[in-house]
Symmetry: C2
Subunit: 76 residues, 2 copies
DNA sequence: AGATATTTTTCCCTTACGGTAAAATTGTGT
DNA sequence: ACACAATTTTACCGTAAGGGAAAAATATCT
């Protein structure tokens, strides 16, 4: 598998959704439990993992941080 | 000065907002013109640069990409 | 089949977004 | 400092959509 140390360019919501699902599976956590951990609804987790583009920024950030994914910005 | 090639950890909406404002100033563009370029309202740009946390993810992504900021994700 | 997990749907409330215009802030020149 | 211009922020409103909860519909296992 791709090691967790590699950088992934985020082009859209789908990119981050896939990473989150993969991480969650690693931890062997259900969407429901993970939603509880993140203080969001289960529907949000489902939509996030499926790449819904209009989710709120801070909620996405909260989930990524809790599951162990850091976001970085880099100017071109 | 910190070169634009450096990676900045995004902990919240404020972090990305500051970068966007800095970039926009470099280009010497008004919020109004930049909003037109990004196909978003001028109010969105203002709120984004000031770190409003609940903005929609894809809109934030669209703006960052148009102004020359790439987002990366990295597992811990 | 049965149990578990995930996705989707429905109902309801809240809120983001854009447009416009006014208020506030920042910047510039004299 | 002062006046003036330019830019940014805020307020109001209508529309559209997000989000939570829970149930229903699919999917995925053993």
């Amino acid at each position: 598998m791709t090691p967790s140390s590699e950088m992934t360019l985020i082009k859209n919501a789908t990119d981050i959704g896939k990473m989150i699902r993969a991480k969650r599976k690693e931890i062997e956590m259900t969407q429901a439990d993970f939603a509880g951990l993140c203080n969001v609804g289960i529907r949000f987790i489902s939509e996030l993992e499926n790449g819904k583009p209009t989710l709120e920024f801070d909620r996405v950030l909260r989930v990524t941080q809790l599951i162990g994914i850091d976001l970085f910005a880099k100017g071109r």
